[in-house]
């Protein structure tokens, strides 16, 4: 069976047999770094195109279809345009913070990539507190957004950053509680352990209704955390023009834009890992033949398929719902999602202790 694990293992063996251990480690780091940056570039291009195609499909129009075959090079052309644009810095802005902010958002997005398992045995860093690491680092990006809003010296940006701060800090709680409920079921914080615990079935199906509730809350919370419609109050095009990135142009804007899509990918990857079994193929009980066929599909395809399905869900929300108001957004979190997910966590703990899950 095709697996990326063999490739990574053979590369590692070759490196360690050819170079001394320090040199091999440095080379490995370089390769991983290049791969991560390459993945970012590709993800940015693919997701932006996907969003535009999905939006077009929902809005009864064609979407990009002129540049390249079926418009596939449209995002590459857009990137080129953004790179050639002048990156303006407003006169009244705090220049250091203004220019630093997009990089903080981008670096935070890059860091979360580390513990994600893209395929069987294809993971940058299988840290033993993987899930905790992810929720910790993902909150860093709010600093970048606040920084951008404040340093722009623009009232719209400030309002956008203020909203974003309140929003991300609030929804972090529900997202965290949903993640914890799966940690309770799996009994580990390590991503590879969580995936391994779903060998016989995904937690979404095995954890009864509480797991489904946790999944729904997780999807709502991460939509809010990534500032996507219907929770895009930080950008709120019709209210705050573009919110925290009103003053950004050129490549600095592109970094925010890219970070948004990378963040969507990451939260969907986490969701796929926790609830849908990551790279684990779909197995149903004792249907040996069916399970065997499912095993033939490469694990990377399973992972990317699940992730892109969740991404599609989030894009679907964006092109369907109107935006919430800022007080409704916060009351949704504090009055509904948080109490529900706390109670839900208790239920899941009970299920885990009593061993009621499948």
């Amino acid at each position: 069976m095709f697996s990326l694990e063999h490739i990574t293992n053979s590369i590692q063996q070759w490196l360690y047999s050819t170079f001394n251990p320090t040199m091999a480690l440095i080379l490995e780091c370089t390769i991983v770094m290049l791969l991560a940056i390459g993945l970012f570039a590709v993800l940015g291009l693919v997701l932006v195109l996907m969003e535009r195609k999905v939006a077009a499909r929902m809005q009864i129009r064609l979407g990009p279809n002129r540049v390249g075959p079926r418009g596939m090079l449209q995002t590459a052309a857009d990137t080129l345009k953004l790179m050639m644009k002048e990156g303006l810095t407003p006169n009244g802005a705090d220049k250091f913070l203004f220019n630093l902010a997009p990089f903080i958002v981008m670096i935070a997005a890059m860091l979360i990539l580390a513990p994600i398992a893209f395929a069987k045995g294809f993971q940058i860093w299988d840290i033993n507190i993987g899930v905790l690491y992810v929720s910790a680092v993902s909150s860093v990006s709010v600093i970048g957004i606040l920084m951008a809003g404040w340093a722009s010296n623009n009232k719209y940006s400030l309002l956008g950053a203020m909203r974003s701060g309140a929003q991300i800090v609030s929804y972090e709680l529900s997202a965290g509680l949903s993640i914890i409920s799966i940690v309770v079921l799996a009994g580990s914080l390590q991503i590879s352990d969580i995936i391994a615990s779903q060998q016989t079935g995904w937690w979404l199906f095995r954890g009864h209704i509480p797991a489904v509730i946790a999944f729904v809350i997780f999807i709502i919370a991460v939509t809010a955390e990534t500032n996507r419609a219907p929770f895009d109050l930080a950008e709120a095009e019709s209210e705050l023009t573009a919110g925290f990135h009103t003053e950004y142009s050129g490549m600095k804007f592109a970094l925010f834009f890219l970070a948004e899509y990378i963040n969507i990918f990451i939260v969907c990857a986490i969701g796929a890992t926790l609830f849908l079994g990551g790279w684990m193929p779909l197995h149903i009980g004792h249907w040996e033949g069916f399970n065997h066929i499912m095993d033939y599909i490469p694990s990377s395809v399973w992972f990317l398929g699940k992730t892109f399905f969740l991404i599609f869900l989030i894009m679907w929300f964006r092109w369907t719902f109107p935006r919430l108001r800022v007080d409704q957004l916060l009351s949704l979190e504090w009055k509904y999602l948080l109490p529900i997910s706390m109670f839900n966590l208790l239920l899941i703990t009970l299920i885990a202790i009593m061993g009621w899950h499948f």
Binding site: Q59, K155, P230, V326
Partner: protein
């Protein structure tokens, strides 16, 4: 002069649109400029908003960015010509504006309009009203952050524009009215295409309700937002869907029927909520009523002339003439003072948008910025109509 004083009094920061944090007034208030270039104002409206956090303390509309002195221009145009300038006031109900002017001139000339022309005028009025409400529906949803309805609305609106194009030769500012009737007879395809449109629209209007009206987020965003009481609606002079959303029966088509409106059956939609949701419902239901009017008339266009015989040069007798119609946004009044010459001595338009805008400050105080978009969306402001 008034504007200059205002700007100096509130500090120089008003001029830099959203640009300077130094504009914070006393007591932690933040003065923010929405417009003249802003996605939610749908035109060059400039609102100076005083905020406390996200709560609106005061809104001060600054007008004049698109003032073209249409009323003054009309004074140097003949009675045939000035009608078409008014297409550029409320460009979304251009045909209805022209209708108001034509009615006023006809009142002065005491012209008898052929029945065929009357019916064609009303048909075009109602199609224009539907097109205008369609655009409003899409733009309103977009203000609230939902982009997709805009495209759905335009799908149907395009059909109306195509019908207009075929008969009038233009899609938006049709210039189809002349004193005494309409400029050309309807296109041979007109009836068939309108019937096709009725069928299409009846299928699609329920889709609008499914997509937006029933949406829980949408209802939360609009219910109880920007409440305009009946008394306030009357004292601000709000007409059209804004007035009717507050329970004021103000449909000119019912109160002072013109053309054939007294012969067709349709309901005046009145909601008593007074909030954004009520104004929204009025417009949605009005589209169904307009379709009802079109359905009644489309098979009953009488034969005969489409234009009354008029002289080449029109001269109104000395005196004052006033006519009013119901546009998509409310009551449009046209007031002509004639000295007996070939051009009007003085013209005044009573535009619905101006009165409706005047209620904005009153109903938005204490709301959030997000509410302002819902309120402005349901007031359905068309800036060239306000500024003229």
């Amino acid at each position: 002069m008034y504007r200059e004083t205002q700007i100096i009094n509130s500090g120089h920061t008003i001029l830099s649109a959203g640009g300077d944090l130094g504009g914070a007034a006393d007591g932690g208030e933040l003065v923010i400029n929405v417009g003249p270039q802003h996605p939610a104002t749908h035109g060059v409206l400039h609102l100076v908003i005083t905020l406390q956090g996200e709560t609106i303390q005061k809104i001060e509309p600054h007008l004049g960015y698109i003032h073209r002195s249409i009323e003054k221009m009309c004074e140097s145009l003949s009675y045939r010509q000035f009608i078409y300038v008014t297409s550029r006031m409320d460009y979304l109900s251009a045909h209805i504006n022209n209708h108001a002017c034509a009615l006023c001139v006809e009142k002065g000339l005491q012209l008898e309009i052929p029945p065929r022309a009357r019916v064609i005028r009303v048909l075009m009025d109602e199609l224009t009203r539907i097109a205008s409400h369609e655009l409003w529906w899409g733009a309103m949803a977009m203000d609230l952050g939902a982009f997709t309805p805009f495209f759905y609305a335009f799908r149907e609106r395009e059909t109306i524009n195509d019908i207009m194009e075929e008969t009038c030769g233009a899609r938006l500012t049709m210039n189809y009215m002349v004193p005494g009737g309409v400029m050309y007879d309807i296109h041979p395809n007109f009836q068939k295409r309108v019937k096709d449109f009725i069928q299409l629209f009846n299928n699609k209007i329920d889709e609008y309700d499914d997509l937006v009206t029933g949406n829980i987020i949408f209802q939360n965003r609009t219910k109880g937002v920007g409440v305009l009481t009946k008394e306030d609606a009357i004292s601000f002079g709000c007409t059209g869907p804004v007035g009717r959303g507050s329970g004021v029966p103000c449909d000119i088509r019912k109160l002072y029927p013109y053309e054939v409106y007294d012969k067709v059956s349709f309901d005046e939609i009145i909601e008593t909520g007074g909030d954004s949701y009520a104004r929204y419902l009025v417009r949605i239901k009005e589209m169904r009523q307009s379709i009802r009017i079109v359905e009644q008339l489309i098979d009953n266009i009488p034969d005969g002339e489409f234009q009354a015989k008029t002289k080449a040069v029109l001269k109104l007798p000395k005196g004052e003439f006033y006519s009013r119609v119901e546009t998509a946004r409310g009551e449009l009044g046209v007031y002509i003072v004639s000295e007996g010459g070939t051009t009007p001595y003085r013209i005044k338009f009573r535009s619905p948008g101006f009165s409706n805008l005047s209620a904005l400050d009153h109903i938005s105080r204490g709301s959030k910025i997000g509410d302002l978009m819902a309120i402005m969306g349901t007031l359905d402001l068309v800036i060239p109509d306000i500024d003229r």
